[in-house]
Assembly symmetry: C2
Homo-oligomer: 349 residues x 2
């Protein structure tokens, strides 16, 4: 995907602007936690090390907080009206990373130990719960009349989030092929729940907190959900063909772990001889070694799984744009969102 | 504590009545979960076995749902107005059992395996998250104008709940004596957060959902918090002197695990020779064997720790009654609450 130079400049500026706007309120919210939990939250947010020493400049992009701020601006309000929602979605994102890393047994994230690895499983479970509670409290305590619909949106996204994680975990025990196999549309639904719901909620929350009509908030929410599906597709491409230096994971890592990701499922669903050879390879059982993983990656590409995943990402970006086009939005914020979409997924494309 | 016969009859009737009122809505809420999570929730609620087969009549007392219903009735409204709040607090209680059992490494609860033991740690973490999300969603979606203050109360109780669990876990690494030792008032604060916040929230939520003024809801909330401290004190007595046949745990179980409970802390804080002998015994390190645990229990009793804990429970029950006396309450519901208080803690006294 070719991204015009102006958009390439716009997106990082937007993200930095939103981070600067939200950071004081986010730090204040984290400061309300029990100090033990605040320490784990600061570690997970990239603000500090295990020993509590500050780590300047290592925080994440802050996609969710940016979508919340832009959601308010797109509805014609100042971004600050969305700050309380931006804080809530960042806290929920952090909660979900803490708990997902436990469930997935992941020991590192962004070249650092995961929270359960650094602090223990029990403390990581509890810190996640504390972040979850704080997110709900932050939004419920929001001044003005928009707290109640905002909490309703967050609660609905939370239900989707845990449902998506369940779907993903249960894919592991399903067969690669045959009647019980995971179909691409089931995978898309999982990605929408697991990744899209919170991105959509972020953008929709911003609009709700700005007092926008429900159809504006819904259009922003749907755009965020499509972005989530596109985001997951890119994650899947990175999990197979990503540069280990960029991803921090070994080459073909998802294949070694026999993860049922979109490229594999799309390849297996294809009517192509390579799909049948891939099937035989995957049915052998056990983790794939270097050679088998490399052969599997080749067969997935040959059967069209890589291309199908790139197409999937593009289609959902297009659907996100279409959703935004259906409602009147403030032009400047609309453009910033449009610049953000390809930036967020161009990591491999 | 001597409980009049009429009260002994009243309390089980009240609990059964409230369970019958709430059960359909609770079952409906659980039915909204992903089937995997619904199965774990039904198992934890005592409704079904690991294989999904029904277990009639094995559910818990349902203290929290009863307090919610009685909170509404005490505010002069029909109990059904509190059902949505009763469902939310039962879901949160179930969530907290699932996650606490992981943190505490407890393998059995009420003579059955805990959820993490039966289904695995990751699934138990996720099912807890799903119950948490469902509780917030249930309350946020409540019809009428009371959803927002109800969610605020629940969110605040949730923050206290996780804070209390953190305080409890951190007590483990504190010394038995000296400047860093856990003081009885710190223990009381932990118990109020960990056990009292949700009981108080239940009663207060009932009043809020019934449209009661804030001071009525606050008085019910405070009463529930005191009940929680009393409840924890009784739990601590059971953890040392409880009958293994009733508790399902070995005799002196909390002492064997070197748990810092109120009787031990009160004994150590006493100016008594037995307190100093207890100190020496505890400082020896490692889990206590049969003989050491029996000697420790004797020394705690000699130093006054057992009596202090009984007094603690009584004082907090009295404080609960006083809190209720400060606001006008519907007499029938008020009496039912008063009958419930001693019933809930008479397990050992």
């Amino acid at each position: 995907m070719t991204v015009p130079t102006t958009q390439q400049d716009t997106a990082p500026r937007t993200l930095a602007r939103c981070r600067d706007l939200v950071r004081p309120a986010l730090a204040q919210a984290v400061g309300r936690l029990h100090p033990w939990h605040a320490g784990m939250a600061a570690f997970s947010l990239g603000w500090s090390d295990v020993d509590g020493s500050p780590l300047p400049g290592s925080q994440g992009k802050g996609i969710r907080q940016a979508l919340a701020v832009l959601g308010a601006e797109a509805a014609g309000a100042p971004g600050r009206e969305a700050v309380v929602g931006a804080v809530a979605v960042e806290l929920i994102h952090t909660f979900s990373l803490l708990h997902d890393d436990i469930m997935d047994g992941d020991e590192t994230r962004r070249q650092r130990p995961t929270v359960w690895k650094a602090y223990g499983t029990g403390p990581a479970v509890l810190a996640g719960d504390a972040l979850f509670a704080l997110a709900v409290q932050t939004l419920a305590d929001a001044p003005g009349g928009s707290g109640a619909p905002a909490v309703r949106r967050l609660a609905s996204a939370l239900s989707d989030l845990v449902r998506g994680q369940a779907e993903d975990l249960l894919f592991e025990s399903r067969p690669w092929t045959g009647p019980g196999a995971v179909r691409p549309h089931e995978y898309r639904s999982m990605a929408e729940h697991k990744t899209g719901a919170l991105l959509g909620c972020a953008a929709g929350l911003g609009a709700v907190l700005a007092g926008a009509p429900a159809d504006t908030a819904d259009a922003l929410d749907r755009a965020g959900r499509h972005l989530g599906v596109a985001f997951q597709a890119v994650d899947d491409l990175l999990g197979i063909w990503g540069d280990p230096q960029t991803t921090g994971k070994p080459v073909h890592s998802d294949l070694r772990r026999r993860k049922k990701t979109y490229p594999v499922l799309a390849a297996l669903a294809a009517d192509h001889p390579a799909a049948r050879r891939l099937e035989v390879l995957l049915h052998a059982g056990g983790p794939l070694d270097d050679d088998a993983a490399r052969r599997a990656a080749g067969l997935i590409e040959e059967a069209g799984g890589r291309t199908a995943t790139v197409v999937e990402a593009h289609e959902h970006l297009a659907a996100a744009r279409e959703s935004l086009a259906r409602v009147p939005l403030a032009p400047a914020a609309h453009e910033e969102i449009l610049a953000l979409l390809p930036y967020l997924i161009r990591r491999t494309m």
